[in-house]
């Protein structure tokens, strides 16, 4: 029961998975579209929550939120299952694949055999699509890879039932029923409004205020943690931004792609303007990453590199505030 799957290379695993599941059911939405409708860009900095000794920093919402919000806004009913029993979870997956469904899975990345060893971390919120089984191998469409891959059943089981933070518990999901017609315009508007209010919210750890908060703290890191640890922290900021499947610039470029599509769909000029501004902002985030990496490598030895990073970050916050205020006023 091998079949062709419309695999497409994506920047981010979660939006790529949702986009692939919809495409397989005849609704061709690009990855940026899914990303934008499902929540879009964000920023989180919570210094009191540490992951592996490093303050929590994220450029997007919580894992699973894109899935939930995107399906909801498009009016698509989904089936979502978790399993206590590992074997039952695998049997259920087999049954669904047998009936020809493509299934979204949440997995750990550490035990996936096709991941290069350098990219393996104990991280439990990776998403991918299973679309078939050949003997003992599952046929997977992992959106962050260029081509479909295969994974032996034992490895996949380990990944689906890994423990720890965000333990997937065999989580699988798929659209159970596709609506006849989707009100894409309304969904896009909803998505943009949601991102605006989230980015411009008043909670100091989140959105634009979160970026400013981090900008203030980055300056103090060398005094607080010592230079070496401070650089490890800077490195992790950059890693979250560029390395963890963001499509570059901490999702900002992907969001630009979404705004461009939204501009075409809704015909609101302000959205096009915001897209251009977002594109520039993405470039500035990249500059921030370059400077951060330089600091980590020890090339930038002057004392005020942390000041400079902080200054750049504050400028980024100002830019994003402007963009989302503009969007909020017009959408």
């Amino acid at each position: 029961m091998t079949r062709q799957f419309p695999h497409r290379h994506a920047g981010h695993c979660e939006s790529g998975t949702v986009s692939a599941l919809l495409r397989d059911r005849g609704l061709d939405l690009s990855e940026p579209m899914v990303f934008g409708i499902g929540g879009g860009v964000f920023f989180v900095y919570i210094p009191y929550v540490k992951m592996g000794g490093i303050p929590l920093i994220a450029y997007r919402g919580a894992p699973g939120s894109i899935i939930k919000l995107c399906f909801k806004r498009l009016g698509i009913t989904t089936r979502r299952l978790r399993f206590r029993d590992e074997d039952k979870g695998m049997t259920a997956l087999d049954g669904l694949l047998e009936s020809g469904e493509s299934i979204g899975l949440r997995t750990s990345v550490f035990w996936l055999p096709y991941f290069p060893p350098e990219m393996r971390f104990q991280f439990n919120a990776h998403h991918l699509v299973a679309y078939g089984k050949e003997g003992n191998d599952y046929l997977l469409s992992d959106p962050v890879f260029e081509f479909p891959v295969k994974c032996p059943s034992d490895d996949l089981k380990r990944c689906r039932f890994s423990k720890g933070l965000f333990a997937p518990k065999g989580f699988l999901f798929y659209p159970a029923q596709m609506p006849r017609n989707v009100d894409l315009k309304a969904a896009v508007r909803q998505g943009i409004r949601f991102t605006c209010s989230r980015m411009l919210g008043f909670i100091p750890f989140l959105g634009v205020r979160g970026i400013r908060f981090l900008a203030r703290h980055i300056k103090k890191w060398p005094d607080k943690y010592g230079r070496e640890k401070a650089l490890v922290n800077v490195g992790s900021v950059v890693r979250m931004q560029e390395e963890i499947g963001t499509g570059g610039g901490g999702f900002r470029f992907m969001y630009t792609a979404f705004l461009q599509e939204a501009h075409k769909l809704l015909g609101v000029n302000a959205i096009g303007e915001a897209a251009d501004m977002m594109s520039d902002t993405g470039d500035k985030w990249r500059e921030f990453a370059v400077l951060g990496a330089k600091a980590c490598k020890g090339r930038e030895t002057c004392d005020d590199v942390f000041d400079e990073l902080s200054k750049q970050m504050r400028a980024l916050a100002d830019r994003e505030e402007k963009i989302f205020t503009l969007l909020k006023a017009t959408v």
């Binding site: 290379h9 994506a10 920047g11 990855e31 940026p32 550490f110 035990w111 055999p113 290069p116 060893p117 350098e118 990219m119 393996r120 971390f121 104990q122 962050v144 890879f145 260029e146 380990r158 890994s162 423990k163 720890g164 333990a167 650089l231 490890v232 490195g235 992790s236 950059v238 890693r239 560029e242 390395e243 499509g247 570059g248 610039g249 470029f253 992907m254 630009t256 792609a257 461009q260 594109s279 993405g282 470039d283 990249r286 990453a289 370059v290 951060g292 990496a293 980590c296 490598k297």
Partner: protein, 141 residues
């Protein structure tokens, strides 16, 4: 970012894997452009691995000097913490912590060792040993 500015620097992603980036084509529209790597990613990735490798190496020395059990070395090699290993094996954290001491580990029975070996994906023989010299640990799996 323009499509021609997407960095194409051979890096650790390696093995012909490419990453999808979003960048502008000649008409200014954002499309997926594949990248083989960027030095910035390499720098921060290497930094993260240095931290991990340092912990693994110091565990290896502790094992050789008879303080810690090989379990600690293999746990760190799998990038696990006591909490994660406990959740995976179903032992209590307290129990796992005890098993990290060589004296306790040496007395463990076969079923216990099997459980660890299975969760760390190795044989019992492998679980009981550590390499005599530092391993350039790019073969983590």
């Amino acid at each position: 970012m323009k499509a021609k500015d997407v960095p194409q620097e051979m890096s650790q992603i390696g093995d012909g894997n490419r990453r999808a980036c979003y960048a502008q084509d000649e008409h200014g529209n954002y499309v997926v452009v594949r990248s083989i790597g960027w030095h910035v990613e390499d720098v921060v990735n290497a930094q993260a691995h240095v931290e991990i490798d340092r912990a693994i190496e110091s565990a290896r020395l502790e094992v050789l000097s008879g303080v810690s059990s090989p379990l600690k070395y293999h746990m760190l090699r799998r990038q696990m913490t006591v909490g994660l290993l406990a959740a995976t094996t179903g032992f209590w954290r307290f129990t796992v912590s005890r098993h990290l001491k060589l004296k306790v580990f040496d007395k463990l029975g076969r079923p216990t060792l099997e459980r660890y070996a299975d969760c760390l994906r190795m044989t019992i023989d492998e679980l009981k040993r550590v390499p005599a010299t530092q391993v350039a640990d790019d073969k983590r799996a």
